[in-house]
Amino acid sequence: MHRWRIPIAIVLVFTLIGIIHYTSKIRSEISFIESAWRDILSPFQSGFTRVQRGFGHKIDFLRNIRTLDEKNKELESLVQELKSEILLLRNYERENEWLREALDFKSELPHEFLVAEVIGRSPSNWEKTITLNRGKAHGVTSGMAVVTNAGVVGTVINSSQFTSTVLLMIDAQSATGGLIQGTGDLVLIEGDQSNEGCLLVTPTSRDTVVEIGDIIVTSGLSRIYPKNLPIGKITHVEPKQFDLSFEAILEPFVDFTKLEYVLVVLPRN
């Protein structure tokens, strides 16, 4: 038996290296063991998340109790402002509809959304992923976009029966196309490893000009994200060598540290 120890150890080491190599890339399909493990964990994660969130809300309430009166007044005036804005927007909507009909535009069907709760996060500091309580059983598969009302969150990279893992836009492995809202120029948006929680914007053309404060939206070219979803605002522009190009820092609209519920964009059919 003793003489077999070394060959067995060698086989185990090579098997382990093989598994690490095989799983080193993002996979759209996960193994049965991973899927089962995530499904076992998900109800516990859900419960833990709710308990922690409950505590967090109570602590926030106690912290904010002094400023509630001021906030109430602020919100009341904001409601008045928003009411007048809604009236204005209704007018625009009617005008838009009329123009669309006049130009014989085919109105795009609205996307279907599925509400999902964030039940977990990546356990390490190096990956930026979240776990949702919706999986294959709810029609969520890899490649689907995940958004909130504030903007783009990320993409589903794989799903088990009852959970899905979402690669956040701020992860270093994430990359997508975007449009500068003012000019319509295309840019590439990637997770920025040197600025925690920010995105890196690089132009796709030499003529692209970007300024601080520019809003970046999804281009719709990737077929993952619907067009014109807000991504973030440019906060810093750094010219590259000889001023021929630039790199810009984009601050996302979504606060990735406070995600509780998200929307999964389902295919139109």
């Binding site: 382990l16 598994i19 690490i20 190599h21 799983t23 080193s24 993002i26 996979r27 996960i30 063991i33 991973e34 493990w37 995530r38 964990l41 516990f44 994660q45 833990f48 998340t49 922690q52 969130r53 967090g56 039940i119 977990g120 996060r121 990546s122 356990p123 390490s124 500091n125 190096w126 990956e127 992923t129 776990t131 794989n158 893992t165 270093a172 490893q193 040197s194 600025n195 925690e196 990735f256 540290t257 406070k258 509780e260």
Partner: protein, 172 residues
């Protein structure tokens, strides 16, 4: 029996680490509960027990993340082996020894994991942010480790007692 107990402790550690609004973040750094628990187990049980629990804990996290499966498990196994040997040689009842062992173990695990990722083709940014993340997490783990060492030792003793009781009487 006691192995179920150890597994349950690691399971709860993984849950605490992966849930909440943005994971368990203190002073801007994420507390790596699973890594901390396996390092503490290595200090309590020595190199071999620590290595086994390190591998199991790492594998639990690997399977959840679904990326580089086996890498974190191997890293934790070797780091716990090292920390276990270190605490066997030194006087582990001294809080400074424990502090240094957890600090060094956390930093070593993080660096080894990043180096392992690079070996398997990942692009890893080594800069100020990475350095600060490693340092911050190592310090945080070391401080929290000091606080939960005693309760964990008591829990461990209780698990061993229950295990013996179960073996002798067959009653839980």
């Amino acid at each position: 029996m006691k192995y179920v107990g150890y597994w349950s402790i690691l399971f709860v550690g993984l849950l605490v680490q992966t849930t909440g609004s943005s994971g368990l973040v203190i002073f801007g750094y994420k507390l790596e509960v699973l890594l901390l628990l396996t390092l503490l187990f290595a200090i309590i049980h020595g190199p071999y027990g620590g290595a086994i629990l390190g591998f199991v804990g790492g594998l639990m996290q690997d399977l959840l993340v679904g990326h580089y499966i086996g890498l974190y498990a191997s890293v934790l196994m070797f780091v716990c082996l090292g920390v276990g040997y270190l605490s066997k040689r030194l006087y582990k009842e001294n809080f400074l020894v424990r502090f240094m062992a957890i600090f060094a173990g956390t930093a070593q695990a993080k660096i080894c994991f990043l180096v392992g990722k690079i070996a398997f083709g990942a692009t890893v940014y080594f800069g100020r942010v990475t350095f600060m993340t490693i340092l911050g997490s190592a310090l945080l783990n070391a401080f929290v480790g000091l606080l939960i060492f005693r309760p964990l030792v008591l829990l461990d003793k209780r698990l061993i007692y229950w295990d013996e009781l179960f073996k002798r009487t067959g009653v839980t």
